[in-house]
Amino acid sequence: MIKAILIFNNHGKPRLIRFYQYFAEDMQQQIIRETFHLVSKRDDNVCNFLEGGSLIGGSDYKLIYRHYATLYFVFCVDSSESELGILDLIQVSTIYIFMTVFVETLDKCFENVCELDLIFHMDKVHYILQEVVMGGMVLETNMNEIVAQVELQNRMEKSEGGLSAAPARAVSAVKNMNLPEIPRNINIGDINIKVPNLSPF
């Protein structure tokens, strides 16, 4: 089972946190810091798997992570039997392809996802995640299906229209306002991610 999904940037700023096992709020933040510390010190061409930090449960957990441009995507999964003796292990190799599916889906939904998208559309990212993972279990792995669901949500949002549709231009204005330079596109693997030079905040 997936215990947590964390996305943070190169400075350790959380961009999405989702825990599927209860941890108190301050503990969640500590886990994020610890995890950031663990993955950020690793070189880029080492492997993508490591044992969990002590806060989240040590070697009973595995971290599967990927580093895309400014963002780290980290999935934390069980690597031993659950307390009920139920084996619900997902091989790291399996979760790894799934993680890629998730990132590719984000990329498709946002058309070249970048860190700013995650910031300004935190709710949307959550909704996409919700189509993919449910209660720590994988719900759907077919990207087209996920995208179709997201589009459906979108249409419903539009149809409810009214006020929520109005401030569209305002958002993009705000977005551009913050960018010191035009984002450049960097090719990482197969996923295009715009890498704006973000000032950490």
Partner: protein, 963 residues
């Protein structure tokens, strides 16, 4: 056109986020957040009712603030309100807030449940999905109570939309994980299995997770899933990559689903149905074949997906452990990956090989990669990979390569990452012990370990080396020499000082002959380390000093001088002070005899499971040390290194306390230790058998020096206090009293008397330790049909509590119904310091006990002898003498047998003849015996004749062992 309309959003939210981003400092950010929190709070508390949009906006802001690491302690109510909105976006954010921020014991759950109930009943699939998500994400018990009955219905209802089915399956799974008792199996179970055949792959994916979980707890109810899963898998594997359209991922058909199917199959043994099994093996072969095919795409996703399936397939092959061909193929495939340029693949290959190494079919194949793995340990840049390499080396280690692997691990330790050193140390210690052929190698290895990674050497490790040195007298001299040399190093680790202190204190005399390591040199060497050590080590050293006084009287003056100095005798640490005072006094007033008794060499430790293994297991968490590891430990480590068990001949009848029970005992031992909390830190009080002197009686919490070792032997026991005295069935044939069994914990004495076909046996259970045995039970059983031959009943059950040093008596009434050859079994169980001890012994009850001697003259004897001349009435054995052939000894033995020894009957005075009647309830069996010794040849011929063939046979067998 992106799926997410980036433009649509909430203006206030975007502005707030921009503000935060523009903050130049952390303080400014906090200020801005506090301002916003105050604003939202006032809005929520305000008189004006907020519209849905505003509520949504504020809740979203709160979520953002939460993400930044600030506690959110309000807004929950507003979020709950949003749940009952009719607008999708409002409902959605409400559920999101609750999923992220509400923990399972919130008081709001009841309100939330209400909203969920409405949404589930709404028949609007989108709302239903939102509700199901919320249940799955919160997964509390209240929710399980409320919905565990409803969700299975939704899952299997014919008219449920696919997307809802998908969510319902996972939701049910989550509830089953949190509250398995609330999810009741029922009529829906069989229908869930058939979801494996569903058209919609998403439904299959979700259902398979559910089934995998349920079938682990209810394997029988879900058995049918095996054939369904195999056929589904076979369809996927054999399909062209385009058949599954959307579920094809970079030319690999449905990789996730394949992995899940393979995982499900790992919950079951190989299919019994030949056709199903054949199909599955075919699938596995196809998967292995595909790994060899050239890739259909250069993209890394393609190979990742392909390999994910391959690794899961290999797991299944390992799980079945029955197809040597596949296992070896798997191993070869992994071998290729070991050298792959992708780090991930190397990592995964090492990990899978670890499990492969435990299979007997592939262990050898794994071993062929040893050089590659060692190389990985040395050269991998990534600590994760190195760690897996170390794990694999540990798993592939056996007698043939142990020296090489241990050497490599030791050399790696010098540079190993700090995070894995402790584990490495434990592994080296275990391997060294498990595969030690000569003990000097073992001692060298452990001392090296302490030298290289002293800080990471846990107490268990050095306790263990001492246990082994004490139990093996052939290594003691070497150990003393080696520690003495190791202590020469100017800086040596405190653990080394501990081992050195202990070993020299016990066995320093073995090297004292060499002037370079004369007693005084040894003492000075130890004492030079004294001041740098911590209190427990100093305490140990003080004990070593007093042992020196006993071993080497010439050091007495020097040591007394040391003890007498203020830093000892007035030490602020109460333990050190007490030891100094008491040892000083002891050495000055006690006679050498007393000193020699009090400070006698430590008795061997009882055989026990290595505590290091328990430690490693604890460290790695359950599941990390496989059961096979432990089994192997028992097999190899247990039998070989622990001297105690080897000292006496093993008797197959005795099952000494089972190692696994003992292992558990080690972990549950702390309660005993905590009783002596004050002394708890002084685990090193190793000389506590000094009895009245040592205030901290050697109780500790790791089972190493638990008090059993230091308990005085029972007063009435004259036997040496160590080493189990195994029950040898023949010892009691000719005698009725004696010690039936003895080990470190327990002594069982026996007294018996017989008259006619009746008997009475007194068993005395002596607790040799100072700790009480609890739950003490002893039961007598007659295996097989023995029951119909002999009755053996205790007069009353034994007292369940045996105090330390106390003795318990039990009386057995015995009645012989008819002749018998087997003996009743006595089973004893009790808990000692938390560990269950289990012991089964054969009672020394043999047919000859019911002999009635019959005196008769020569003529009479030979007349009867002739009467019993049928071949089956006679049993004869010719055998070599095992014991003295002295006439008087033989006479005594024959008298003990219970028959009448007839003098002047046999024409040859060297021969013996006896006569007796076996009294059983059913009949009386007359017996005649003739024993003809041949002193020159050191042989006997033994002949027995009786009216019953079984009696002749049995008596002949019994007696042949006696002479």
């Amino acid at each position: 056109m992106p799926a997410v309309s980036k433009g649509d959003g909430m203006r206030g939210l975007a502005v707030f986020i921009s503000d935060i981003r523009n903050c130049k400092s952390k303080e400014a950010e906090i200020k801005r957040i506090n301002k916003e929190l105050a604003n939202i709070r006032s809005k929520f508390k305000g008189d004006k009712a907020l519209d849905g949009y505003s509520k949504k906006k504020y809740v979203c802001k709160l979520l953002f603030i939460f993400l930044l690491g600030h506690d959110i302690d309000f807004g929950h109510m507003e979020a709950v309100n949003l749940l009952s909105s009719n607008k999708y976006t409002e409902k959605q954010i409400g559920y999101l807030f609750i999923s992220v921020l509400v923990n399972s014991n919130s008081e709001l759950i009841r309100l939330i449940n209400n909203a969920i109930k409405n949404d589930l009943a709404s028949r609007n699939p989108t709302f239903m999905c939102l509700a199901l998500h919320c249940i799955a994400n919160v997964g509390s018990r209240e929710m399980a109570e409320a919905f565990a009955g409803e969700i299975p219905r939704i899952l299997v209802a014919g008219d449920t939309m696919d997307s809802v089915k998908q969510s319902a399956a996972l939701c049910l799974l989550r509830l089953y994980k949190t509250s398995p008792d609330l999810v009741l199996m029922g009529e829906w179970t069989s229908r869930v299995v058939h979801l494996l055949n569903d058209q919609h792959m998403g439904v299959v994916t979700a259902a398979i997770s559910l089934i995998t979980c349920l079938s682990q707890k209810n394997p029988d109810e879900f058995k049918t899933c095996v054939s369904l899963a195999v056929s589904r898998l076979s369809r996927i594997v054999s399909s062209a990559s385009t058949d599954l359209q959307d579920y094809t991922y970079y030319f690999v058909p449905a990789p996730w689903l394949s992995c899940k199917l393979l995982r499900l199959l790992q919950c079951y043994p190989p299919p019994e149905d030949g056709a199903v099994k054949g199909r599955l093996v075919e699938c596995l072969e196809t998967i292995l074949n595909k790994a060899q095919e050239p890739p259909k795409s250069k993209k890394v996703q393609h190979s990742n997906a392909k390999n994910a399936i391959l690794f899961e397939a290999i797991s299944l092959i390992i799980h079945y452990d029955s197809e040597p061909n596949l296992l070896v193929r798997a191993c070869n495939q992994l071998g290729q990956f070991l050298q792959h340029r992708e780090t991930n693949l190397r990592y995964l290959a090492l990990e899978s090989m670890c499990t492969l190494a435990s299979s007997e079919f592939s262990h050898e194949a794994v071993k062929t990669h040893i050089e590659t793995v060692i190389n990985a340990l040395k050269t991998e840049r990534d600590v994760s990979v190195r760690q897996r390499a170390a794990d694999l080396l540990y798993a592939m280690c056996d007698r043939s390569n142990a020296k090489q692997i241990v050497a490599e691990m030791l050399s790696y330790l010098e540079t190993a990452d700090y995070s894995i050193r402790e584990e490495m140390v434990l592994k080296v210690a275990i391997l060294a012990e498990k595969y030690a052929v000569d003990y000097s190698w073992y001692v060298d290895t452990i001392l090296n370990l302490i030298r290289i990674a002293g800080d990471y050497v846990s107490e268990e490790v050095w306790y263990r080396v001492i246990q082994i040195v004490i139990n093996r007298d052939d290594v003691q001299g070497y150990a003393a020499k080696t520690v003495f040399e190791a202590l020469q190093a100017p800086a040596c680790h405190e653990n080394m000082v501990k081992v050195g202190g202990y070993i020299l204190g016990e066995f320093g005399n073995l090297i004292a002959g060499d002037p370079r390591s004369s007693p005084l040199v040894q003492f000075n060497l130890l004492h030079s380390k004294f001041h740098l050590c911590s209190v427990p080590t100093r305490a140990l050293l003080l004990s070593a000093y007093i042992k020196f006084i006993n071993l080497f009287p010439e050091t007495k003056a020097t040591i007394q001088e040391v003890l007498r100095c203020d830093s000892q005798i007035r030490n602020s640490d109460v333990e050190l002070q007490q030891r100094a005072v008491e040892y000083l006094k002891l050495s000055s007033i006690a006679s050498t005899d007393v000193l020699a008794t009090v400070l006698e060499e430590m008795p061997p430790f009882p055989e026990r499971e290595s505590s290091i293994l328990a430690k490693l297991k604890k460290k790695k968490g359950p599941g990390a040390v496989s059961v096979s590891d432990l089994d192997e430990g028992k097999r190899d480590g247990g039998g070989e290194l622990n001297g105690a068990g080897e000292r006496g001949p093993e008797s197959s009848v005795v099952s000494t306390p089972s190692p696994s029970a003992d292992l558990l005992g080690l972990r549950s031992a702390p309660p005993v230790g905590s009783a002596a909390q004050g002394a708890g830190s002084l685990l090193v009080d190793v000389f506590s058998e000094a009895g009245p002197l040592a205030p901290a009686s050697g109780v500790n919490d790791d089972g190493f020096l638990s008090s059993e070792d230091s308990a005085p032997p029972l007063p009435e026991s004259d036997d040496p206090p160590c080493g189990p005295v195994p029950f040898q069935s023949f010892r009691f044939v000719c005698k009725n009293n004696g010690v039936l069994f003895e080990n470190q914990l327990l002594q069982i004495g026996i007294k018996s008397e017989y008259r006619q076909n009746l008997g009475r046996m007194y068993l005395f259970y002596g607790n040799k330790t100072s700790v009480q045995f609890v739950n003490f039970t002893s039961t007598v059983s007659c295996p097989g049909d023995l029951q119909s031959h002999i009755l053996c009943t205790p007069t009353k059950p034994v007292d369940p509590l045996v105090e330390g040093g106390a003795q318990l008596q039990q009386v057995l009434n015995i009645e012989c119904l008819s002749d018998f050859s087997d003996a009743p079994l006595l089973n004893i169980r009790f808990r000692y310091g938390g560990a269950l001890q289990n012991l089964t012994l054969k009672l020394p009850l043999t047919i000859n006990k019911f002999f009635q001697p019959t005196e008769m003259g020569s003529q009479d004897f030979f007349q009867r002898w002739k009467q019993l001349s049928l071949p089956q009435q006679e049993a004869q054995k010719i055998f070599k003498a095992n014991h003295s052939m002295d006439k008087e000894v033989l006479k005594a033995k024959l008298l003990g047998l219970g028959m009448a020894l007839l003098e002047n009957v046999d024409p040859n005075p060297e021969n013996f003849v006896c006569a007796g009647v076996v009294q059983t309830k059913a009949q009386q069996v007359g017996c005649l015996l003739r024993l003809e010794p041949n002193i020159q040849a050191q042989m006997y011929r033994l002949t027995l004749r009786s009216s019953k063939d079984t009696v002749s046979k049995r008596l002949c067998d019994l007696l042949a062992e006696q002479f």
